[in-house]
Amino acid sequence: MSTYTCQQVREVAPELALGVLGGAERAEAVAHLTNCSRCQAYVAELTEAADILPLMVAEREPPPGFEDRVLAGLHTERRRSRRRWFLTVASVAAAAAIVSITLVRVIDARTETPSAAPVPTTATAPAPAAAGMTQARMVDVTDGAPAGWVYVSGGRTVALAIAYGVAPGRYDIEVHPAGSEPVTIGAVDVQEYRGSWMGSSPVAIGAGDTVSLVSATGTAVCHGTLTTTQ
């Protein structure tokens, strides 16, 4: 709870908007703002002016090779991030396997037919994440414009992100393994052109298979063909 009044906040609001208010003053002002929409609006107005200041600085050509170095750095970050995502998926898969093994033990114990070794329920546990990762760029089915990205780990765990080009609405996520009928694995809500979904596919999918978003009228709006992640 802030001890600052609206008047005190307005005194320091310009420094807050410029990002140079420090310590206790900043803490008091921010605490006040959480409960005062009028002061929030005032600070937002000043921030709008403050945010334009950096645009007034002249552009300058960076040193040769800068763009390549930045992109190389982003590539490294992307790989790290994917590894983190991969480890998360792997740990979820491992946790699911532990749960299913535990369930088997519990069921075995209740039926008084204890098994000497745990029996994993391979039908429901996700496939091992180490089985590989595939990805696809989702593109608009009519003009090929980028729409988002989909990753598949271990042939079953699917993470999908829609970032642009798809109208707001709810879409079925269809996977289409080569030579088989399409299977709906879930649905994603797209709002303000963004949406994401993560879940498990009941059928194994991999490189060469297609993932599509299908509208309520049954029309595919975007799709992507999976390729192996390098």
């Binding site: 005194e11 320091v12 609001a13 310009p14 420094e15 908007a17 410029l18 990002g19 140079v20 208010l21 420090g22 107005e45 000043l46 709008e48 002016a49 403050a50 945010d51 334009i52 200041l53 950096p54 645009l55 007034m56 600085v57 002249a58 552009e59 300058r60 050509e61 960076p62 040193p63 800068f66 763009e67 170095r69 930045v70 992109l71 750095g73 982003l74 590539h75 970050e77 992307r78 991030s81 994917r82 760029r137 980028p146 988002g148 990205w149 992100a161 970032a163 642009y164 080009g165 052109y193 963004r194």
Partner: protein
């Protein structure tokens, strides 16, 4: 890819699209490096800051909200904060604020008139800055661009802390008022 909006590029960045990342860097690198170089006053350090700014933008692209400001102001705010953090210990000597914001070349009335005719947000702000008293202009540029606190400005300018705070406050309020007045006049 080259004709897409800034917002769409950020969305592409959020999905990890390499083409979007490449276009994003190409589009903003001169602005980002220019700002970083102005604040840290060293090419090598500026490059480190600019690189880190792009990595941060990539990392947080998913949480970018276009309702809270344009892509370029979002990216430059990231750059500014990183640059200020990097020079927190070894503070470079203040550069003349008017030259930082390019006002040293538009000091006459004709230059101001040309600015007024540009009509965009930046030109409007530049015009409003040019019309501020010099001490207020220095204070708001030192704070808003170089990250100097009111206390540091009071030491640099050899003025009481309260005066430094008043200059910053008055300057930013006037800038905001000038921007609103210009918008209404259009």
């Amino acid at each position: 890819m080259w004709s897409v909006t800034d917002d769409a590029l950020v969305a592409g960045l959020a999905t990890g699209d390499p083409d979007a990342a490449s276009a994003f860097v190409r589009r903003f690198q001169r602005r980002v490096f220019g700002l970083a170089r102005t604040i840290v006053i060293d090419d090598r350090a500026a490059e480190d800051v600019a690189q880190e700014a792009f990595v941060r933008a990539w990392r947080h692209a998913g949480s970018y909200d276009p309702r809270r400001g344009s892509v370029v102001t979002w990216l430059l705010t990231i750059t500014r904060n990183l640059a200020i953090d990097s020079v927190r210990v070894r503070r470079p000597l203040p550069v003349e604020p008017d030259s930082i914001v390019g006002l040293d070349q538009v000091s006459d009335e004709r230059g101001l008139q040309e600015l007024a005719e540009l009509g965009d947000d930046v030109a409007r702000l530049k015009l409003a800055l040019a019309r501020l008293p010099e001490d207020q202009r220095r204070a708001v540029v030192l704070a808003g661009l170089m990250g100097y606190t009111a206390r540091e400005i009071s030491e640099i300018e050899n003025i009481p802390l309260g005066t430094a705070k008043t200059r910053i406050r008055t300057a930013l309020i006037r800038l905001r008022a000038a921007m609103v007045a210009e918008e209404r006049a259009e």
